[in-house]
Symmetry: C2
Subunit: 385 residues, 2 copies
Amino acid sequence: MLNFSFQNPTKIHFGEGQIAKITKEIPADAKVLLVYGGGSIKSNGVYDQVVTALANHTWFEFSGIEPNPSYDTLMKAQNIIKQESIDYLLAVGGGSVVDGAKFISAAALFEGDDPWDILVKQSPVNNVLPIGAVLTLPATGSESNGNSVVTRDGNKIPFSSPLLRPQFAVLDPTVTLSLSDRQISNGVVDAFVHVMEQYLTYSVNGKVQDRFAEGLLLTLIEEGPKALQADTKEDLEIRANIMWSATMALNGLIAAGVPQDWSTHMIGHELTGGFGIDHARTLSIILPAVMKVKRNEKREKLIQYAERVWSLSGNDDAAKIDKAIELTEDFFKRMGVPTRLSDVDINETHVDGIIDKLKQHGMVQLGEHGDITLDVSREIVELAL
Amino acid sequence: MLNFSFQNPTKIHFGEGQIAKITKEIPADAKVLLVYGGGSIKSNGVYDQVVTALANHTWFEFSGIEPNPSYDTLMKAQNIIKQESIDYLLAVGGGSVVDGAKFISAAALFEGDDPWDILVKQSPVNNVLPIGAVLTLPATGSESNGNSVVTRDGNKIPFSSPLLRPQFAVLDPTVTLSLSDRQISNGVVDAFVHVMEQYLTYSVNGKVQDRFAEGLLLTLIEEGPKALQADTKEDLEIRANIMWSATMALNGLIAAGVPQDWSTHMIGHELTGGFGIDHARTLSIILPAVMKVKRNEKREKLIQYAERVWSLSGNDDAAKIDKAIELTEDFFKRMGVPTRLSDVDINETHVDGIIDKLKQHGMVQLGEHGDITLDVSREIVELAL
């Protein structure tokens, strides 16, 4: 196991009816900005529950945060923050809304000249507005980590600060019953690949981390497809297991003390930034190709993954690895997400542009060994065609 | 899954050399009381590392906290706290030292007349001195939870407050290399039974919690015996896996959203309080009897435990349960701990006294269903003879 420091102070309120807890979690004298997305929270009852819980608070609202939240949209929130002296952000929505709230928070108290530097120069984030989250879409883990991704002019740029970890997060699985199949699929696949980025590297004999990661993968494989099936899609227990898995998949715990990959995400970001492909669908396309191209470097963990997650046995390790990759792709297909670039109308004429974007963004040494150069990324992208 | 609220803000610094981190974790202007036990930290180098890290702090020390820390000893610390205006406690030792620091902390700022009320009346703990911990014995999880057990006149009394959760904990597995076999055994068994108390109840379909609990059990079963074997007992990776398992076993995470038992602990406390049996050895004696007496109520989880932790298969559920209990006892024997009261010279003449103590302490409705009455506890104790 590698040395590590780990802390996750986000308070989780999990279960039906827990939105009411925000009343006590947000200081009574706070001036709250409720931030949300396109308005689905108004049709599924979440907005009303939040408004009821904020009845005795002073609050304002800012809506319109889009999937892959854009810099321009987020900067518009600065006006109301200044005008109303906002000192608390309540993000109500999925990972994009929570990510967006993090950038709004960091930009509001940014000490430099231009908040754009937070992204493009990775300027340090020293002061933030506190954030609370009511999660409506289990996927990104943003509700209890300090990560955020913001898009500008087709460029998806991640930034991170432990200061931006939400102070509390409400996870009520009932609110996920109104999600579309596509949102459910994307969320389950996103969480699954988050785990894989922290698990499928090389072994440092971190037995707890490995078992926890495998537990999350097994849960997502068992529960994900059921959330799409007509006879089980209203089952709250399935939604609860998916929701808790997605939070645990990226709250820092399974990453503590082990190497991490993240090449699938970095390549995937270029597919979202350049072609507008849903984030999770870029992952389901790229991950299988990464598994194939890096099968020698990831061999030990691929075998362990085959045995423990897919219950494959026998002495032929290569066959087990092949089968595990195939079963991973099958799982993605059962979740209704693409596994090839051709599924999303990207072809060989686009490869150079994708590699150019990776170069432009400095993504020239990806993966747990830093050995995924632009040439290797090209191999991965071409294999995913 | 049951509704839950979960928060664990303790910062963990894990790995070799991490004791140096306490320099920055404790406020520079704090007046620190270093609390420890019998002095083993002076022979294994931990004391020196801590003193080096505190070179620029103002600090005092209080030693002599015994295993199963006693009320009388802990109260003696109040003098130096008052005299020197101590405002930070640094606990260096195993679970007993950390538990002791929690009581010292709560007693120092107790608002009532007599700190004894914290235990005997479970008076609320509203103000505490902050605590940091340097763990030397992986076992109790006290380094990142708010629980404590204090002994007075043969009575072991637990109390708890989230305010008493250490602000940080240093987990350096190298410091565990100097532990005796008995300390290692006790620690592994304690952690194992902590997991079982939160896992072996009835199913609420908490898939993540179950997988995490099983991952910890598997790790402790795999690594525990190796830490006792001559050819592997110096292996730092084994110690690291045990140490991280023990912390994760009782930091609140695997308990979130699931029922809990704790009857083994409550009965076990009377064996320590009344007969001085090591805490973990009371657990290894009582747990198998609880599994047998409550096999019907715990049937579903016993089968899952048999299949997932012990890889037992077949259609005969009763046989799987029998075998799983037998393998649990075998594991305890491999760890060198007793599994029967007769192993520790307790016999049928002592049963009435044990049951009387349970009654005196109000332990009349134990277990996840509250159905372990004094009569059922008697059945458990008699089966453990």
